[in-house]
Symmetry: C2
């Protein structure tokens, strides 16, 4: 039986091309010979936007749909007004492909520097809702530009949307040794959404009696992330809170150089997308300075999603081993990619 992965590759802007090349190198190195890897590259990002004014068309979405998964480098460039590519490409894709499980693991690996004194143990995963909350673009502006302007943002939360991501997170917690899940919200102030989230969380909890549950307000969660990150195992939270705490989580667990993420459609109806948490870092683009580790770890998430569990683990072990030996040496993007490709 021969297997096949049909991958869409979106290098994007800035360091995107460099890190994605290394991600693909490691992917090729880890895949068994009988797996045929087909890749198709797409030119989304700042260049295409400047040339055509397009960020992501319906025809693009049709093409992307045919793939098994998507690997993305980074999208964004200072030459494009803030928000255009974020909303016109990144968020549009998450919504179009219903990427409601935004998976962001945080693990402080040996050898990796941490801004936290005492290097506490950190090994948790944030399940961030990806298709609701204040990210829906609901809201509006009246009397724009006048002293009487009113601008609103509407956070939309549905039982359907909350339940599916909460259930996904509980299943992930159940599969982990500590079997603990923490809901992060602000239900004492955002009482409408907070009630829905808390209620659904408590209902779904009944289906997972072996999973320990906890609740923390988002403001307090940022305190624990720097004073006691070991208390977290699986965190489930809304789109905006998830955006905020996963950057902090990345910072305390080795930095965004090693933070991977998956924008997952668990049903498989649409391809899922995997990308490093970091941005396009235009200041160091093209210099071979970017650390491709976060992209390589995103490839591991991609493989796990496509049921190549052994290969995913091999990448994660290779990264752990490599990081453990890195020390103070500075290597190029390519050297790190080569080293990881050899190890897997």
């Amino acid at each position: 039986m021969s297997r096949r992965i049909n991958l869409a590759v979106i290098p994007g802007d800035g360091i995107g091309q460099e890190v994605v090349s290394q991600g693909l190198k490691v992917l090729r190195a880890v895949l068994p010979q009988d797996v045929k890897l087909e890749t198709q590259e797409y030119d989304f990002g700042a260049k295409r936007y400047h040339a055509t004014g397009e960020t992501l068309t319906d025809a693009d979405l049709e093409q992307l749909k045919a793939h098994d998964a998507i690997l993305l480098g980074a999208i964004g460039d200072p030459s494009v007004p803030s928000g255009v590519l974020e909303r016109g490409f990144l968020l549009k894709l998450r919504f179009a492909f219903d990427h409601h499980v935004n998976l962001r693991p945080s693990k402080l690996l040996p050898g990796v520097g941490s801004p936290l004194a005492g290097r506490p143990e950190i090994d948790f995963v944030v399940v961030r809702e990806g298709t609701e909350g204040p990210y829906t673009g609901n809201g509006g502006t009246i009397r724009k530009g006048t002293p009487h302007e009113v601008a609103t943002e509407v956070s939309v939360n549905t039982a359907f949307g909350v339940e599916r991501v909460v259930r996904d997170a509980f299943a992930r917690a159940q599969a982990r040794p500590r079997k603990k899940i923490t809901l992060v919200h602000k239900n004492n102030v955002l009482a409408f959404a907070g009630h829905l989230w808390t209620n659904v969380f408590n209902e779904v909890a009944k289906e997972f009696p072996d999973v320990t549950t906890d609740y923390i307000h988002v403001d307090a969660a940022t305190i624990y992330l720097v004073t006691d990150p070991g208390r977290f195992d699986v965190i489930v939270t809304d789109n905006l809170f998830g955006d905020i705490i996963t950057d902090l989580a990345a910072a305390v667990s080795g930095g965004i150089g090693v933070a991977a993420s998956g924008n997952i459609n668990p049903s498989g109806e649409f391809p899922s997308m995997f990308e490093p948490v970091h941005g396009s870092a235009p200041d160091i683009a093209g210099q071979g300075k970017a650390d491709p580790t976060a992209t390589v770890l995103s490839v591991a998430l991609l493989l796990r999603h496509l049921d190549y569990e052994d290969e995913a683990v091999r990448i994660e072990e290779a990264v752990a081993a490599d990081l453990g030996e890195r020390g103070e040496t500075t290597r190029t993007t390519e050297e790190i990619g080569d080293a990881l490709a050899v190890r897997v």
Copy 2:
């Protein structure tokens, strides 16, 4: 000429009474003899809620209005459903008295432990908007408790509300040696509110040509708060982002044991309220274990607001000196209060 401070005192719940007593002790010690301090205590909090079902009535507000300022310990108890006292008392008071400048300084003082490796220099102040954003209680729920429930939260932002807090923050930045201000928002995603905030910020900036401006997305701000907090001088941000980053800011700059805050109405139309950032900590209440330092520093903010600048500075210097000598010794709430009262 004899002067007079007519202070409302709200000890509240848990450790509130203990820390407020020490705050008042230090206040009495620092005030010049010619200043007459009148205090009136109010019994808001869990006990009153259980006894009467009330959190804060119109008659209460009338009474509170007559004071020059309010000193609050902490409100909140596990016996009261989450949100009842937060919304029914704390937020109600902030909105009723138009406390639109929520001032939260962060300074890592010598001798104070930090969760950050290398103890970076930290000395900034967050000006959090206090009367708008998702804190307005706008939003709602349909089909509550059913699989078709939809819950919304509406962030309301007005040019009037944004401009006054942004201008206040610029003035504070101008008065500080580094003269730098950072707007924290998420204007690439929350484009309606983001545009208003960014636009007003840029307009007001023109009136303060000697103030350096910066903009950072809220998610990235959490990274900088742990990797490079020295980059911040004054931060201005919305109600929710301010809630989140000030807890993180407190955590990195010595913990909530020393984090003070002011809920300020700069016009003086209503009395401003000063309180420690920490909560009522019912687990250690009544044991003399609570650190009153955050309350004492809130008293300093209160004095500064009432134009007792010298006295405010004396308290801050006393706290800095005391913290510098604290070391590992464990002192009771009262011992710390006594030590600070002696020093001022």
